[in-house]
Subunit: 210 residues, 8 copies
């Protein structure tokens, strides 16, 4: 994975090129339209997810991993969308199936019940709960399921402890068992969720040694 | 109201004595056992609430206000008890009826439904929601009712943003409309709740001018 | 209510459209001129308050609530104007009468006396006190009235604890009973004030269950 | 699980008693010697881990879960011992096998190589890396393995950003994929690690629905 | 001046002794009863102000300065008393007259009017306003007088920005012209106030060169 | 005085106009070139200090105060220039003489000796010491003179505690007696310094009552 | 050395000119392209390092110091490059030899081994370790060498404790002996490293007195 | 080196014993009297520095390093003594000569001149400047010498940014080139100073490879 943010175009291009050479695939996160443009001349197949700020480049012959396992991604709405999508796409790129519910706010708890029922039917292995503002969603979710829940704070909210701080603190202080990543770090949540989800597959001998 | 905490016994006694003289009643908050002992020699009727750290002294002839209105007090459990009780007793001393539910955590959302049903039957005018740790309870509550909700953060929780900071931030960032008081400031919540609850009574001409 | 800030035009339009469909009215806060333009093609009657960053869209046949009660809004001057107006318009949209005094600074305490006299004549049910910098106004006000006071910190002030932090802290630490909302959160103060002000009306049977 | 810290003995006893009745087992964390004494009169089998501040009470007939999976616990030394032990014992109580290495500091990187080799032989499913001070250990570990790593900051260190803050920040900012819990929250890490480790068992149909 | 706090008795004694030798007077601040006891064997005349935590030792023949000028000290009440007294005694020891009003809270603004009238009659040269909690008093005072006002925050207040932080911030953000010292630093306020008050005397040729 | 920063041109113009009407003079601080342009159509005599971000407008017939006294302004160099000039011009507008030394850094202590000698010859009544970065200048100065020193932190410095925080903290913690204003608040320092410097004049009967 | 950042072009030019006159050389740091352009008309030989934001101007006849000693500069990659280069060029300008390794991340510890072997062969006197994010590199390095290590935090990283704070804290809390400079302060590290590296040369009589 | 603080006696004893076995010497820092007592039964020669909280244990046959070089230690007075002594003794134990001046405050700059002259005569290789409160001493010192200066903040000072924070910030923001260690970390300063001072010795072939 390559973080595009803060890198100049020429520089970013060089790094992505090297990664394509070495690994056959490069997943670029926080890619602005201009970053995507800068990379458009590179070889291979390009896939862009502008809403999630992600671009994936794959060389012919690259064989994506088949890790297996299912990741559920839940968030409250439009402010959390980009980060939730980032987490989801990373998990998919790392070989997992995903299920998502993007309109589950704590102000309307019943929608959470519906979403959970749907996710259980899909036998979700690990949940990613994305939330800004007061960050209560992962706590409520972790109180309802017995699967690992990863909380992702989002940099929404203004004023006191805004920009995701309040949400991060709330997840660290959660009454329910919860693990957390940094503010807006959807790609970290996606990567660890994929590690978790794929454990059962690896056990049966198909995975790489850890 | 007199805050006992941080005052030396002789000093506290003098202040309470003066207030009894002037108002006929003194409500002492954050009163330790030794503070209560120090005040035990004062005249009038004494009522002690050691679990809430409150002592109320009233002179003969003092007529408590009959403001009316009902205040609902909700919290998650034993860690929030003292602060919730402080809020409740203040509201009662200021002339309101109270209803309370002290075992309503966000980890078990169904208990909140039960408590709310009970409070609605009692026609609660204003809610006080007391919560530590991640402080999600007032947010969830305010998403369910159309009455004013006052959030009170409690100084529980350790580590990052512990001692009530996380709860305070979460209430300020709440997705639902919510007003807030300082950490552990149950008596402020009780006092303002009494002002709110009693508005309907005053309207009909029985209240004092604001 | 919809917070326009941070939402892309197309996205905002979709959300407002859905809310018009469902509720018959949409109150858009923190609406920049470009956000207002983006919404100008939507159906219904449009009302804009550019100074307060608010746009209200109502469908034909929408019946605004008649909750009743009176909200008093007080602030020191031009820096607090936008936030005070936001609080006031929200309270009006939610069915309350409002009275305002927008030139009441703590540096000239006599103007506060005049404003209060006027507000008492209008029988104000609840006060909203908006203040930046050192945030002393709500404390002084709450020391003078026996009605609920909601303090709203404003993100003015530079240097140490600037941008509203100092004002928020001062309101939380206030010597007088006071409830508080987040920095610049005029719409929260307006919404809760409307809940408080309208209590007396509901009691007589005309309001919706809480 | 019951957090003993901050609860008065009589109060703690009541809570633990209720949990024994309802669940057949109570795991008490942050139990001081006096808390352990207070609980010593309760029925059932008692097991104490004073170094980890844990006491486990089980009623006759309680069947511990057999979730399976293996949790690896790594820390640098004596300052992190209590928190690491807390994580380990919780994971064991929740039905996992554990492997531990408690002398792996970042100042002597070769000991990490040895510990890892040993843990790989035991086919560890998920790692818990406990670290205070600058908190570098989980980052280094997560750069070496392709299994989930949970970082636990410990409240050691004095001066600037001491008491675990520096370690927590470093884990959130980690260059390697890492999930984190609050400072000293060994029991949260243990609980989530057990959820992760046991996934492969559940898949084959023996686990409870999530 | 010698700060007793944090110095061991033997050590403190040595420092005070040296200062008596060199200057003929030693003003010891934040002197606990045990510190006062430790110094009781030293030569010269001793004067103790236990309420202010101050002890003044003077050698025979020491001629106190006669700087002149009048310092007014204002605070809200008992919590601010020690710090206000410290400021006052230091100003007196440095040769100024002082006037004080120790019951002037912002919740009862009229008492401030009375106090000010009295101080103006005494022709106060400089004001020291001592305040904890929300720290509004110095702001209000500085809006009413055209003399220099020194604000002293006091470490009262709990919860968010408690222990004097809120008061300090409010004074730095004050709408009225105000200079400030550190939390609880009454002796600094007293020393600078004495420098200010005595300027007019020096001008006429009686003071020492600055 | 009017703070131009953060006010829209039309708005600023209206406020300045009102002040000219009422007081005969308006001192505008933090005035950008565009703010100065916006005010250029107003009546009266205009004086601009673009380096200090100040514009002074005076109506015919306005009589500036003749308070007297001398204010010394000291800073380290070009980064502190704007704030130092702001302090100086305000002091002059309020009727004081000023002396300044703008190249006195703590890295070359001898220049401070020269500047002080010059200021003493001018019989400076009060010092304003302006400093960013580590903020040591006011401390050193206050250790050398027996006149009041006002420290003004400047928002220079990057990284940890940059933008003036470090300087403000250092001045509050100063070993020498020092009073402080908010970061970059040159105009507050100038206003209070003028109050201090003019005391001796007023005493002889020429000043306004305080 | 002159910090270009925050200075207007005309102003910067004047300062650099004066320094050329006085010292014969001017090292300008944090020089933007426009700052470099502004200085291009000045006399002497110009050398630009745009990647490091440095411009060096030397007058004919200027004799650079020959202090001797070797400084090793290590960082993880492209985000740290500018700061690492700044440190390196300053050390060279002050008369030291330098060796650098710019691709040494803590996620791939073996590259650190290679870099260290190379640096030991060059007999490095002092190390500068530049790191952002979690800032672990200087700690690991200082655990491996017995030479002085200067840690330089870099303002990368977003979210909680981002922009270099986390890295700074980690270096201050380091388990290995380490000295630290402010965030992004490469030039300070370079200057002190040159002082350290050149000590052995000075001892033999060729250096200037300290 | 072993940090005694926070370790239980039995535990500390075991660690020190192991270190004596392995290295022949153990330097114990932050050793309370009870810690020293706990270690008194261990074999070898014991040397105690109770004022510095240090205990050194050496086995017969241990050959202390003869690194050479001279370290100068400067501080303002009694509050900084313990930390300054800690730095000094560590430097001595690591084979350096030391010179110290413990009464050099920034309020009396001339004493610094005297101390510096003395240290230059001793040809000091590296300075350690220890300071609390506003932390100005290292800045002033580094402006006067061309040798490396290590600043050590001390946890004195109360109120805003007290307990060493202000001093640490000031050193990081210093106008003069300065490297810094954590608050109270005298032993780190001593260890790195010894590495610096001994460089010239090692160069000539007597030192161990770095």
């Amino acid at each position: 994975m390559v973080l595009a943010e803060g890198k100049r175009p020429a520089h970013l291009k060089r790094i992505v090129e090297a990664m394509l050479d070495k690994c056959g695939r490069a997943i670029v996160t926080r890619a602005s339209p201009s970053a995507i443009r800068a990379l458009s001349g590179l070889p291979g197949r390009h896939r862009e997810y502008p809403d999630a700020g992600i671009m994936v480049l794959t060389m012919p012959g690259f064989r994506p991993p088949r890790r297996g396992g299912t990741v559920g991604v839940i968030c409250a709405g439009t402010s959390d969308f980009r980060v939730a999508q980032e987490a989801r796409i990373i998990a998919e790129q790392l070989g997992c199936a995903t299920v998502s519910a993007y309109d589950v706010g704590v102000a309307g708890v019943h929608r959470l019940f519906d979403a959970l029922a749907r996710m259980r039917r899909r036998n979700v292995d690990v949940y990613i709960a994305v939330a800004g503002r007061e960050g209560a969603l992962p706590t409520i979710l972790a109180g309802m399921v017995d699967r690992p829940v990863i909380g992702v704070p989002v940099s929404t909210g203004y004023g006191m402890a805004g920009k995701g701080k309040s949400a991060l603190y709330a997840m660290l202080q959660s009454c329910s068992p919860l693990v957390v990543v940094n503010i807006d770090a959807g790609f970290v949540a996606g990567a660890v969720a994929a590690q978790i989800a794929s454990r059962s597959m690896r056990r049966s001998g198909r995975g790489a040694p850890g």
